[in-house]
């Protein structure tokens, strides 16, 4: 008995001492009871040697609601969203598209240093963002700008914060326009102001990120969009931790974590999936499978059936959806959210889509794919045109409104753009702050040495563009 108790301490309560391998040898099993006893798997024996064939010819099917022409296929799957909401979907996607065109051009003209467009993937951002609560935490990769459009300012600082005094919401200012961030499509959906997108891209005094990161590395505390970082997939286990904390806080919130099919190859993705499942976290893993990781096509990224097929390997409920169908994305995300928070378990959504634009302004994708391929997606299967057909068939939109909106959105973007360009950059002393919460003595010395250096050599530095 003492030995059993010691074994129990060693092996832990989750297994129970009766399943300790040493104990199995000494236990008396009924000869009729020939079932496997291994703690590691719940399965039957088989006496035929056969390898399981991975199914990649006919993979996990792709859920969709609309066909490529924007017609509802199965009316019972139509979410029957009100006109106002569908219009918001459309305007978020198109405003993002307009902003992308202008900012891409501005990089080509040397006005900002770098940019990444979202062409073709707007449906994944808006459909998913619209299905979340405004206070659900978003961890993105870098191509989710559309997700912040839907988050209304007036819901900032509302009830149900993660923790009492949580840093996430403690500094929310209701109705405040200064320094609020309206980030790209996920952010666009949460009403992140254009000025804030631009401020970050220009790294000007209004950038809440204080000019520290390359363009498109947005973040917004009020809209619960965690600041983007360049390393891929690092956000995945972090999102899981945040979801665990949300569960503990009984916050009735989930976390959504976006990443591409390329990032899903990183070890961090494997870590995140496994932790989410074993620790029972209310999280949605949203994979944008857009066919390319810079120049690497999916055939060189994985050999299995995409990312959705990996979910069951971790014990995660998974689905594959047509990412260019904003209603399919919406329905899947909505249901996943409902169940994630009710059942405290993760969900994996693989949204199939296509990256119409280049990876970034540092890429020319004609080097590795044909113009015909790109044109097909741009012309024949685009989330914006599919939604437009849907709206037009209901009489909610027409060519005149389209023309007027294009003009209006372009004007809005240009105004914000020119405004952002005129602004100064932040004071160079902001190079040194926020490394720690408090500035260490050695760093203060370094800051002072730069100040002295600029006093003598300032003419060689672009001080005129920076706030004094």
């Amino acid at each position: 008995m003492a030995l059993a108790a010691r074994a129990a301490r060693v092996w832990g309560s989750r297994r129970g001492w009766r399943q300790h391998p040493r104990w199995q040898q000494e236990q008396h099993f009924s000869s009729l009871d020939d079932k496997p006893q291994f703690p590691g798997a719940s399965a039957e024996f088989v006496d035929k040697l056969e390898f399981i064939q991975p199914n990649v010819i006919s993979g996990i099917p792709i859920y969709r609601v609309m066909d490529r022409q924007g017609q509802i296929i199965n009316p019972s799957e139509d979410p029957h969203l009100p006109q106002e909401k569908v219009l918001k979907f459309y305007k978020s996607m198109t405003l993002l598209n307009t902003m992308d065109r202008i900012l891409y051009e501005s990089q080509r003209q040397g006005r900002i240093s770098f940019y990444m467009t979202n062409y073709g993937e707007e449906g994944t951002h808006v459909g998913s963002a619209a299905a979340l609560d405004n206070t659900d935490l978003v961890f993105g990769q870098y191509r989710e700008a559309g997700t912040t459009a839907f988050r209304e300012q007036k819901q900032m600082g509302g009830p149900g914060r993660f923790q009492p005094g949580s840093r996430l919401t403690s500094e929310c200012k209701e109705g405040s326009n200064t320094r609020t961030e309206e980030n790209q499509c996920v952010l666009m959906y949460r009403d992140y102001p254009l000025e804030q997108f631009m401020a970050q891209c220009y790294g000007n005094v209004n950038d809440p990120g204080k000019g520290r990161q390359m363009p498109v590395h947005y973040g917004c505390k009020e809209r619960h969009f965690v600041t983007i970082s360049s390393p891929l997939a690092t956000q995945i286990p972090q999102a899981v931790g945040a979801a665990y904390a949300a569960k503990r806080a009984n916050a009735n919130r989930i976390v959504i974590c976006y990443f591409g099919e390329g990032a899903a190859s990183e070890g961090d993705a494997h870590a995140g999936f496994n932790f989410a499942a074993t620790l029972e976290c209310p999280i949605i893993f949203f994979c944008r499978n857009n066919g390319y990781a810079i120049s690497t096509p999916t055939s060189e990224q994985y050999r299995g059936d995409g990312i959705a097929a990996r979910g069951p390997g971790y014990g995660i409920l998974s689905i594959r959806v047509d990412g260019n169908d904003v209603f399919a994305v919406y329905n899947a995300t909505k249901e996943a959210r409902r169940r994630a928070v009710a059942e405290n378990q993760p969900f994996l959504i693989e949204a199939m889509t296509y990256r119409i634009g280049h990876h970034s302004t540092s890429d020319d994708s004609s080097a590795y794919r044909s113009v015909d391929e790109v044109n097909y997606w741009d012309k024949q299967d685009h989330p914006i045109s599919r939604l437009r057909h849907y709206m037009q068939s209901r009489g909610w939109w027409d060519d005149e409104q389209e023309k007027a909106w294009r003009k209006q959105s372009r004007k809005k973007v240009m105004e914000a753009f020119e405004e952002a360009e005129r602004k100064l950059k932040p004071n160079p002393s902001l190079l040194f702050s926020d490394v720690y919460q408090e500035m260490p003595a050695q760093l203060r010395k370094q800051q002072e040495s730069l100040t002295r250096h600029l006093q003598t050599y300032g003419e060689h530095y672009p001080l005129d563009h920076f706030e004094k």
Binding site: V240, G241, V255
Partner: protein, 391 residues
């Protein structure tokens, strides 16, 4: 004391990764038949080496209330207990922490605070740290354990590229300041390449995190509590050879020892000796040897926080003594002694009477059977000190 330390070292490593098979063989009775006791063999040289240091407890601290005799792992448990008691958001996680941990640092905590607060994670260091960052981003307190500092490297990206830069890159919109990573550290007598490393130098090069190494149970509890409460992500390295070997009176209630403050544990006038963790006890002994054999008075400094480090205390001491010896187990090249040496020669050049001496591990991986030759023991430190005095 030293024999105890060596015996203790043998016992725990066999309890975890390295020696599980030994216990099974013993209990199967296979070895009793043909193994003879070591003394019967008769050759003292074949007996395992005694520890290279003698732990010296500090005098009992009166200012913090009732104290209890604790070893280093019990002091860690006490700090964790205090933290979970006063901070309802605090959680502890990592490999094998649920049953108490391979070094018993988390014994009893799961029963006391619940399985949602003290729990095992899958075997994945990058996941452990990434997960911990995520908890901290929401404002909850995350105390992650990495089972051995030797295995912290899969988490290097999450620590250096993410945790350290979270506040800076977001313009202070987000941070993971409530993350603390604890990990057993340093030589243990037989740990070899992968159970002996002291990786503090890798992290010292990373602005945005704090790196702390205690020398004793009392220091460990106070420093760990400070790390947990600090608003920046911290790495707390626990010298594993001291887990059982170091015993002293430790306050039961919580208390803090400030970070980024070195401690002068013995004042002196001729040479400044700087170390951290286990090595502090080595240089303390060297200071006694120097006094006894050479009549040299040493000022002994425990650095305690590696990053950000207390430049002022070390420089003030060197200005007084004119000589500096820094010692650590980690390899010489690029070790943290290089940083101290470089800064001190910048700040105190004209005060130096001799080149700064670094007594460190060799530039090799940490060997197994050669450990007694590898480590910067008191004889090497004494010899370097003697050369400095005679320079």
């Amino acid at each position: 004391m030293a024999a105890e330390a060596a015996a203790a070292g043998r016992l725990w490593l066999s309890a975890c990764r390295a020696g599980g098979h030994w216990r099974r063989l013993c209990s199967a009775g296979l070895l009793r038949g043909f193994l003879q006791p070591a003394s019967a063999v008769g050759d003292a040289a074949r007996r395992r080496q005694l520890a290279h240091f003698t732990f010296q407890p500090d005098p009992e601290h009166q200012d913090y209330g009732q104290t209890q005799k604790m070893n280093l792992f019990q002091a860690v448990t006490s700090a964790l207990d205090n933290s979970l008691a006063k901070d309802p958001t605090a959680v502890i996680f990592g490999e094998d922490v649920a049953f108490g941990g391979v070094f018993r640092c988390t014994v009893g905590l799961r029963d006391k605070y619940g399985k949602d607060r003290v729990f095992n994670t899958p075997l994945c260091e990058q996941g452990i740290v990434g997960f911990g960052i995520g908890i901290a981003v929401t404002g909850a307190t995350a105390i992650a354990e990495i089972q051995f500092a030797d295995y912290i490297f899969p988490a290097f990206d999450q620590i250096v590229n993410e945790a350290a830069k979270y506040r800076y890159r977001s313009g202070d919109l987000f941070n993971c300041g409530s993350l603390t990573i604890r990990s057993p550290w340093g030589c243990v007598g037989h740990g070899a390449l992968y159970h002996s490393q002291s990786p503090e130098a890798f992290f010292a090069h990373c602005p945005g995190i704090k790196v702390v190494v205690p020398r004793s149970p009392f220091q460990a509890k106070g420093l760990l509590l400070s790390c947990i409460e600090d608003k920046n992500p911290c790495i707390f390295f626990e010298p594993k050879i001291l887990y059982r070997a170091a015993v002293e009176q430790v306050p039961v209630e919580p208390y803090n020892i400030p970070l980024s403050q070195a401690e002068i544990i013995q004042e002196g006038s001729d040479v400044t000796l700087v170390a951290w963790g286990t090595q502090v006890h080595v240089i303390r002994e060297v200071a006694s040897m120097a006094q006894e054999k050479l009549g040299v008075s040493c000022e002994v400094i425990d650095l305690r926080t590696i990053l950000p480090w207390d430049v002022d205390t070390v420089c003030k001491s060197v200005i007084k003594t004119g000589r500096l010896l820094i010692s650590h187990e980690a390899p010489l090249t690029g070790g943290f002694a290089s940083e101290i040496s470089s800064t001190v020669q910048e700040e105190c050049f004209l005060n130096l009477e001799a080149p700064i001496s670094r007594v460190c591990g060799y530039d090799t991986p940490f060997p197994h059977i050669f450990e007694p030759f590898y480590i910067p023991d008191k004889w090497k430190c004494y010899d370097a000190l003697r050369k400095m005095i005679n320079y």
